[in-house]
Amino acid sequence: MNEKDDFYIGWQDSASPTYSKARKTFFLLSLLALILFAVIYLAVEKPFIDSYFDYGNLTELEGTVVEYPVFGLQTTVNHQQVTVPLVGFGKFDALPVLEKLKTQANARPLSKLRVTLRGTLIQYQEKTWMELTEGDESIINIETTEVAQEAIRRSMGEQRITGEIVDPKCFFGVMNPAYKKIHRACAVRCISGGIPPILAIREGGEFKDYYFILDEKGQPIHQQVLPYVGVPVSMSGEVEEVEDWKVLKVNWNDRQALSLDFSGEVSSCELALNP
């Protein structure tokens, strides 16, 4: 049978050499294209930040519970005195654990309690967070001390800061990458669920600084920030240093205090996001 008269029938057990060759050629060329694409993709893919989530391992930390700027534990990590903010399992805060701690404290001030909590560590750069994975079961021990541990607070005055609002649980290690548009929906869910919003500041393509976002009275805010999550944003307010963290207190009724900032990101004509 000449090649032109050759005919392919798929339900037959075998194909003629002409068609077998065509199938092999198509398969090999497709495979080659696939491998080439994978290599190119891996070569040009954006690098990932060096964050870490100690998934599957529970760690015990001992320290003093703080409620400001967020629920956390003043403790020692890698020989350094730090505040480890605490978050709950999934996309929720850990406030039920705080409530249980208060109940168990029997009206004693939290600053006079020495508490051991167990959870999963989340780490990026010098910052450590902990997920109280086991909920109420995360409280391992509570002891009373005579000396109250008070946080050192220092006002740094009014400032305008440009950055991106991220959900810190994912950002500091649970997911990677956990910023910009591809993570926006998840970040909205996390912040909506009570995880404190953080303004992450980039310099030269690297994240350098972080601010807890609170309202002008220093109270937590969540729903108000949702439209601004995952996009470049410029915010002004009083900046305060609380131990090893910074806080930005924003007046949400002042429209001047908040604007979307697209410098270096996208054109300013894309201000359609303004809620």
Partner: protein, 345 residues
């Protein structure tokens, strides 16, 4: 062809085809995971998993979409077309893994129903740059679900070839949604001109192959002269090769005029299985055999040989010297028409 419905009628060719798909998926996945372990050790497993399955589905969708026009342009590619459904279902499963795992990762364990969250977490529907790209992927996945679940011949038979075909043409809507999903999601995040160029090249490849195939088909669809006349001149006898057909268009329908065993018969060109072009088929064992999936019809009555039940319309022919004339009015599906006996046969 099969009289009863079975999940898959395996043969050596089908196994070789599916083995090829498996190799495709495994090679990419191994390369992708190992490549990340070496070049991007900080990437989380979830991110690599989501990207691996998303990219694989995207790449396979391109292969699925170029097979059709390639087979129209060169018959050798029919060998890839025959089991395209396996490729399509595999692509759907990869896309489903990508979609379901992404929803689990980004939308579960929160304060809102995960499906509602896909639509309501990012509300920037009025901005192109900030548009919720996950919604586009979700809608594309719904289309792929419909296509994958109706991919079996059971649905083809029950929905009818035209409805089934129309449903499966939705793949182009899915492709458009997926392109936007990729451009407004992953590409925007990666911000790489190289990746953008690759996606654009894929789009241009698919578009140009479809345009080329359509351009070639245009010559077939040119209606014959005097289409309103009772008899219309179709072609010369010598225009038709033995055991092959000449496709002509009469009364808006493509008709395949077959020459076989010194005889001529004409049937509707549209295969009742998936609309394959019968006129590009061949007479095998006395039957018109569709080039797409090997469905067969007897040329004189347009019926599949018993026990099969598919039927196509037949047409009357007459011979004037060396000229083949056709009556433009189709006869009911499966109507016997005495074949024209060629002189000297």
């Amino acid at each position: 062809m099969s009289v009863s419905y079975t999940s898959i009628l395996w043969n050596r060719q089908k196994k070789a085809y599916d083995l090829g798909i498996l190799v495709f998926v495994l090679v990419f996945s191994v390369l992708f995971f190992v490549g990340h372990a070496v070049l991007h050790p900080n990437a989380t497993f979830e991110t690599i998993f989501i990207r691996n399955f998303g990219l694989l589905a995207f790449l396979l969708l391109h292969v699925v979409l170029i097979i059709g026009p390639l087979a129209r342009l060169n018959a050798r590619f029919l060998v890839i077309l025959y089991n395209r459904r396996h490729l399509g279902v595999t692509m759907f499963m990869l896309a489903a893994v990508h979609g379901v795992f992404s929803i689990m990762n980004f939308h579960t364990l929160g304060d809102m129903n995960p499906i509602k969250s896909v639509f309501l977490s990012n509300l920037s529907y009025d901005s192109l740059i900030h548009f919720p790209f996950q919604v586009l992927g979700f809608l594309a996945l719904i289309i792929l679900v419909l296509m994958a679940t109706t991919s079996h011949d059971f649905w083809l038979k029950n929905l009818g070839p035209k409805v089934w075909k129309a449903l499966h043409m939705m793949v182009y809507v899915a492709y458009a949604l997926i392109i936007l999903h990729v451009v407004l999601g992953a590409l925007q995040n990666e911000n790489s001109p190289i990746l953008f160029g690759i996606v654009l090249a894929g789009f241009l490849l698919i578009s140009s192959l479809h345009l080329l195939a359509a351009f070639r088909e245009r010559s077939i669809d040119k209606p014959l002269d005097q289409a309103t006349a009772e008899w219309v001149k179709a072609c010369q006898v010598n225009d038709i090769k033995n055991d092959r057909a000449k496709i002509v268009t009469v009364s808006g329908e493509r008709v395949a005029i077959f020459k076989y065993n010194g005889k001529l018969s004409a049937v509707n060109n549209f295969c009742r299985h998936q609309g394959g072009p019968l006129g590009e088929g061949k007479i095998v064992d006395g039957c018109i055999t569709c080039p797409w999936h090997g469905y067969q019809y007897l040329p004189e009555n347009g019926q599949s040989p018993p026990p099969f039940t598919e039927k196509v319309e037949t047409y009357r022919l007459k011979l004037e010297g060396e000229e083949v004339w056709i009556h433009p009015e189709p006869l009911a599906e499966g109507t016997y028409v005495k074949p024209i006996q060629l002189a000297g046969s």
